[in-house]
Symmetry: C2
Subunit: 493 residues, 2 copies
């Protein structure tokens, strides 16, 4: 035990408590960088992670504390801080064992998740955990246990309905905003569908970003529960309800290497379903050379894993494989996608047919999963009827109103049309490049920015005809797009 | 490109440049935690790692910079900082591939090491690299390439001698200070032996700590070269010469999980030999239930790896397997160990026989490695003669003088004798517990602290006779030891 004089470092750096010692004091306490110490002030106590600085930066027996620690312990400059080394978390052992190839037990996983949620693991330790799950893989059993732990240590929305529906697309396809059509149809039919979605990380828009141009997507859990009880469902941002706190923390350390350990990814997805009581779950795996999953073999494996894990969690599962060969719908970027969705729901003649078809396919699968239909075509008929009757559109407006309606921003006023250099047929559209173009144009930060697809795969095009149109909210962004190899986005043959 | 007003955070947190942005600005720049940005002030430019704070912590367009960044860019509060996102280091790809199980090429390893040395990798990225090397292992080829890269990107001491000797013990045995006897004998015989050693990390003393009670161990490379040219060799702290900068940085992230990827460990050891031009290298692997290596099979594997890698590096190698069953010598802790060494070198009658025998064994192997002796007993005779004639002691004093003699501190004045509770024979001495006791007594920070072994394995002991004696420089430390289960250190049967 040593006593220190606190020195405030006037900034917050995250949730974790960090304490800075000079080299001398660290040696005396026998602690090293990233080890833990217990700080006590009066009767308050916290565990902090050690950072070490040079001797001349902090005087002997002076401890540097960032603003969050200062506030948490209600420190004043007159206080003396008592410091002693803390035990290493025992989860370090489990993480090391995983890196060595040993499977983790349910209890071990649960303790790791608990430590993560309580900010008891440093970034280095969390990184080792992710690395272990990536290099050594997680079994289905480990994945289910991880899912349950994430749910246990996060928020939950409990519904008692026998049927709570959910859907999830593993992503990689720009413009694929089926959720905003599926939820209105399903809930118009009287089923519960509490849908949480993500924001874009590297894509031009996530469902939460697109929904946000029409409605508030950051309602609290208690409010969401009320909305779902009243209008059957919602479309909200998952990160706003803290359903998977552990998951959010892991994403931070996964991001630098873009590391997606499959088991962790599955647990992350399934935890979000499990935490809102979903029991009828449809998973959409788009495949193709440009998709996240490249071929049928990998898709079949992933399908099997989703199915097995869902079953272990007591869910009725359907996993479908779709095409990742081109964007779905015409708009890419929050406002442009919202316009597509509205057109489909309002049955407008120029509504994008592929988006409509895919949404109906998904609804059909979900309805059929209830086992209330003897044949799939009957479920499909119900889906189409609900859409064409205008009931889905009516329902969508109810959901928007319940979440809090927002005035949709305009499409970006700066545009730039990319035209075909030759006549022929569209034989390839590069999803990733289209996404990069939409992002460079400002999406999702500038909601009116993005790309409008004028020609889709297989369509004939004449020289000089528009292939796609870039929209931006300011001129600089158009300049960014012009610096890209935007012409390579289409192949015409 | 955005422009920011700098806000100084008045502390240094390490070599890496860290820049803090608020959430808004991070979004605008499209950067995330641990991503990189390029900061430009006037004509100066650096790459910094991003940390993100809440909106109310930093104003929009205000950037938080720690003291090292402030100094490096010579910032004044009036300056404007231009900021743009930087490319991800391409080594991220290699690190991810290693985690996936793909071997690394020489070029890939070299680029990773270069990035590490230049502080271009964040802790998270370095952690993934260590995890990859641990979970996927490094082949001999990868290990050799890692060794060469560490040497290339660190300091070097070049000697042109046909014979440059070196030795290394993988550790785990308290009191094992043979180096301080081997180097004087070898250099007294006219061979070059530029020996770098480590300080204790978790042990009660490293060779550098023990040597430091007699001589300065932090001479610069140029001075060390002169010393070795003048008196044949030195015994210095490796960390003081920056021979393996990459290695030191990796140790920081290895420490939290105490992760020792074997290839990385081997590269770290061999790089230190290679960087001082050693070409005749003896490796000592102590084995036993208490050692770092538990059994003969593992020892044989490790022996083979050392041998292969040394050969690939153009070294003449000898690897011996010794016992890790009890401490070597009687003293444990810097001053107590130095006293043992001096007694052996001065041929005093109470010099610890086991330490003397082991040192002679090591010298014999090194001499025999030169191929100048037809039979090992001849080499052994030379070793003994050099020691017994007093030449080694004379030579040790020359080395001390060349490095800078220090006045040896006293043995701690507080002591505590642990006596046998019964009569019998010593059948076990627990190395780890003895090390913990010596460390709790204050070693290596308090050089006079430690443990003196009164009875060794196999010795007869009467009830009430001293088994070992604890020395400390202050009373509190004796109290710490009394809190340990010190009685369990010995088994008497």
């Amino acid at each position: 035990m040593m006593t220190f004089k606190p020195k405030k470092i006037p900034i917050r750096v995250g949730n974790r408590y960090i304490a800075i010692l000079n080299e001398n004091n660290a040696k005396e306490l026998d602690v090293r960088t990233a080890e833990r110490i217990i700080l006590t002030v009066k009767s308050k106590e916290i565990t902090a992670i050690v950072d070490i600085t040079e001797k001349n930066e902090l005087k002997d027996n002076e401890i540097g504390l960032f603003a969050e620690t200062w506030d948490k312990l209600k420190i004043t400059t007159k206080d003396k801080i008592r410091v002693k080394p803390a035990q290493k978390p025992k989860t370090d052992k489990y993480i090391k064992a995983k890196l060595e190839g040993k499977p983790l037990t349910a209890k071990e996983i649960d303790e790791i998740v608990e430590d993560i949620v309580n900010d008891d693991l440093s970034d280095i330790e969390m990184t080792y955990f992710v690395a272990g799950c990536f290099a050594r893989k997680l079994s289905d059993r480990e994945t289910v246990n991880l899912t349950k732990s994430i749910v246990k240590h996060g928020g939950q929305l409990k519904f008692k309905d026998k049927i709570v529906m959910d859907k999830h697309c593993i992503g990689g396809v720009p413009g694929n905003r089926t959720t905003m059509i599926v939820v209105p149809i399903i809930t118009a039919l009287g089923y519960r569908m509490p849908k949480t979605s993500s924001r874009a990380i590297t894509s031009p828009s996530g469902t939460a970003d697109t929904m946000e141009v029409l409605a508030n997507v950051t309602n609290e859990a208690s409010k969401l529960k009320k909305i779902a009880m009243k209008v059957g469902g919602f479309i909200t941002w998952g990160g706003g309800v803290d359903l998977a706190a552990a998951d959010d923390k892991l994403i931070r350390v996964r991001y630098p290497l873009k590391l997606d350990p499959q088991g962790m990814l599955l647990a992350s997805i399934m935890a979000k379903k499990f935490s809102v009581s979903s029991n009828h779950v449809l998973i959409d795996i788009p495949i193709g050379p440009q998709g996240k999953v490249k071929d049928k073999k990998d898709a079949a494996k992933l399908k099997k894993r989703f199915f097995t894990i869902g079953k272990m969690l007591g869910m009725r599962m359907k996993v479908i494989i779709t095409s990742a060969d081109q964007p779905v719908g015409n708009g890419i970027g929050p406002v442009l996608e919202a316009i597509d969705v509205i057109k489909v729901l309002k049955n407008e003649p120029d509504a994008p047919k592929d988006l409509r078809d895919k949404a109906i396919k998904l609804v059909t699968e979900l309805l059929y999963l209830t086992k209330k239909y003897s044949f799939k075509y009957q479920a499909r008929k119900t889906a189409i009827k609900t859409l064409e009757s205008g009931k889905a559109w009516e329902q969508f407006q109810k959901i928007i109103k319940a979440q809090g309606k927002r005035r949709m921003p305009k499409v970006g006023e700066y545009k730039f049309v990319v035209r075909s250099g030759r006549s022929g047929k569209v034989t390839m559209i590069k999803n990733k490049l289209i996404a990069t173009i939409a992002r460079s144009a400002g999406a999702p930060k500038d909601p009116g920015a993005g790309v409008y697809i004028n020609k889709k795969l297989g369509e004939k095009v004449r020289k000089g005809e528009a292939l796609f149109t870039v929209y931006a909210e300011n001129k600089t962004r158009i300049g960014y797009v012009r610096n890209l190899e935007y012409k390579k986005a289409y192949t015409i043959k």
